[in-house]
């Protein structure tokens, strides 16, 4: 148990950060990150070192967050399949290409903060697909497996999420320059 406590101590920030980036709610992220460690302990025998320990633990916390988000989605009685970007495209799909780069010339800390604010405004499906692709660097097929949807849906959601992010970042840049 002492060695497991050491692992928790070493990686707790990363696990909490991943939970927070998906849930956008501190208490929920805290509970889910701790639940992930409990699950990790219970499944320790299943860890055979195919990936690093932190990658394995990150998958556990991502799965718990996705389960929780699906539960919340069901409670709101919204259908994932009825998302607007899958029904022919929202305005983001048709909007013109944004030029210049809305993040150009920003300091790293400011850029991070803007990305974080923009991510917070996305729906959980779009935020999750971006987090898994850009931060976890998962391939389309891995994201599809995690999110229990088709690769086509992943591509569609990712495209919509990116266009929306562009739009939000451009909006933040305009507001700051005014």
């Amino acid at each position: 148990m002492a060695s497991f406590e050491e692992l928790v101590s070493r990686y707790r920030d990363k696990i909490f950060a991943r939970a927070f980036s998906m849930m956008r709610h501190e208490e929920e992220a805290l509970d889910l990150s701790q639940d992930a460690w409990v699950k990790g302990w219970q499944r320790l025998a299943q860890f055979h070192g195919e990936s690093s320990f932190i990658t394995w633990m990150t998958r556990i916390v991502i799965n718990l967050c996705l389960d929780q988000l699906r539960k919340q989605k069901r409670q709101r009685a919204e259908s994932i399949e009825a998302m607007d970007e899958e029904g022919g495209g929202g305005i983001e799909r048709r909007m013109p290409v944004i030029n210049p780069n809305p993040t150009q010339g920003l300091e790293r800390a400011e850029l991070r903060e803007r990305i974080d604010r923009a991510l917070a405004q996305l729906s959980y499906e779009h935020r999750t697909v971006l987090v898994l692709h850009e931060f976890e660097e998962l391939e389309y097929k891995e994201i599809a497996k995690q999110m229990k949807c088709s690769i086509g849906t992943v591509m569609s959601r990712l495209f919509y999420a990116r266009r929306r992010m562009e739009s939000l970042l451009a909006g933040l840049r305009r507001r700051n320059s005014e």
């Binding site: 701790q34 780069n101 990305i115």
Partner: protein, 176 residues
Amino acid sequence: MKNDLQLKVQAWVDGELSDGEARRIGEWIANDAEASALAAELGCLKQSMSGNEVAAPLSESREFYWSKIERQIQRESTLAGKPSVPWLGRWRRYLAPAMGAVALACLVVVAIKQAGTPAFDEISSTIDGMEAVTFHDQSSQMTVTWLQDNTPSPVEEKSIKSPVQSQDAPESVIDM
């Protein structure tokens, strides 16, 4: 630009296409201004986001954070080690013969009751001049009900009354 082409551009930016398709789409992007601008936009965003995740600080101390995990692990280990109903296992060997004896006693009582029951039942009831007699034959599972009207007819009623009364009273009163 069509949606499937937009997604192809995105897949090209993400390196998700096969070598042959990547070459083909790459050539098309190089010769199409719109596709080229979209690829540049998606690439810029990808580059901007890469490695720029905000590090959400964990406000709880190491000890406090660990204590909840430790408690949960211990609680679940205890639950996993216990039988689902601990007292039931201990008492099962005593309860099983006793329950068998009770079931046997119930069967005997029912059998005795069945044997003591007469082959038929007869119930009689009289309500406001109507008599109902019900007969049930258990051996042939048959029920017969007689209904008998015991209400005196007007003629009989007239004869019951005294001759003086019947002579003085009008007929309409007698009929009532």
